[in-house]
Symmetry: C2
Subunit: 240 residues, 2 copies
């Protein structure tokens, strides 16, 4: 591969999203299309909790490797967004409001007892990726947020329309994400376009985004297999 | 060793400080006693900059391993204290005001070109310790802050009294530390007393604090050797 201009690199990143982002997964279509039972939506929220709860671990290990106060402050904002500030709830707390709203026991959710093992493997792979790969690859792996406003608006509008057990309050997790994600993306995308200055580094960046799309996709595969078709939750996993 | 009560453990921690904290190092006595040249004080500030600049790396890798939003928020405060919030300067910026005030070129300080290799080894050992040891040991290694208000007040009052090249503004780094450190200690000490619940864990906690005292001490040893007696800075190191 020869070196791309920064804008061509951005196009290549967006092309990965167009092909691989989990907005195209059948489970997502069932979810926002109103074709899941309450139990299946519970399974989704319960498993996705582990992803939400692990985000600050990956972000803090990224902060630990950023070289300047300016860069660390930029990325520290994500810690505040997810963990809150002690007054305003963060993303994890808001996700628990979602699992509450779906009628799941909070202690059970937090205990991770009912988690699909495949969810754990995928999420842990993400935390390890960010800890162990280059800073550039770690930052690039966050760029699925380029695509998240679309999936969030589909989810929120579809779920509100189609499920009588879902309210705006239940889905309050998503509202701040519509402004937080673009702010995060603006920084991360500029960093990646600026620092991926060889063909090799550009290929690493594209691979990092593919990896991240794959692990989001794999989480929906596992949900689909366990709870939709054929519908075989593994021993010990949540049963609606 | 048999298990100690939490208060006896605190006494044992304080006894380590009484014996090993670098307030007892001859270089500290020379520094606050006004017996160093401006060049020797510059060497101290230049080397200590690397310690300051590395603190957020160790704190963020600790945040990355804390399991709950509450614990992470508590430790996140240290990131804010050291990196600032983009409006109020953090500890690193305030330390650079100190090296500015001592007449050192800021680019040279930040470049780490003049750093003593022994400073780098000691500081890097601290960052690695926090990243690799148990969470309990990582938190315990912060407890030298139990002893820091004393050394800070000795430094500030002694340096102001004894050096005409030092002003209150130059030493502004230290003022917020007098309130930040006790707040940090209150949490860390309570955590350690609560979680060091076996004789083995208590021994780990005591060893972690000894390790931390040793690495602060080693930094002053290196300064003393290079710049006081015999006064042999290694090749490439800062020369006043």
């Amino acid at each position: 591969m020869s070196i791309l201009s920064p804008d061509a690199l951005e196009d290549a990143l967006r092309a990965i999203g167009a092909e691989r982002y989990h907005i195209h997964h059948p489970f997502h279509h069932l979810l926002h299309g109103g074709q899941l039972t309450k139990g299946q939506v519970q399974a989704w929220a319960l498993n996705r909790y582990y992803y939400q709860a692990s985000i600050p671990a990956k972000d803090a290990s990224l902060v630990a490797r950023l070289p300047t106060p300016e860069l660390r402050r930029e990325w520290r904002r994500r810690l505040v967004d997810h963990d809150g500030d002690g007054v305003h709830p963060g993303g994890i707390e808001r996700w628990l409001a979602l699992t509450d709203g779906l009628g799941l026991d909070r202690d059970y959710v937090v205990s991770l007892q009912g988690l699909l093992p495949a969810t754990r493997f995928a999420v842990d792979a993400y935390v390890r990726f960010v800890r162990e790969k280059s800073l550039l690859e770690a930052i690039a792996s966050s760029l699925t947020e380029m695509f998240s406003p679309n999936i969030i608006s589909q989810r929120v509008s579809g779920m509100l329309r189609n499920y009588d057990f879902v309210t705006e309050q239940t889905l309050a997790y998503f509202t701040p994400r519509l402004t937080q994600a673009p702010q995060d993306v603006a920084f991360a995308l500029a960093y990646v376009k600026d620092h991926a200055d060889t063909a090799e580094r550009q290929e690493q960046v594209l691979a990092a985004l593919r990896f991240k799309c794959d692990l989001l996709w794999a989480q929906l595969d596992a949900l689909h297999f366990a709870y939709v078709a054929p519908g075989l939750p593994p021993p010990g996993a949540f049963r609606p």
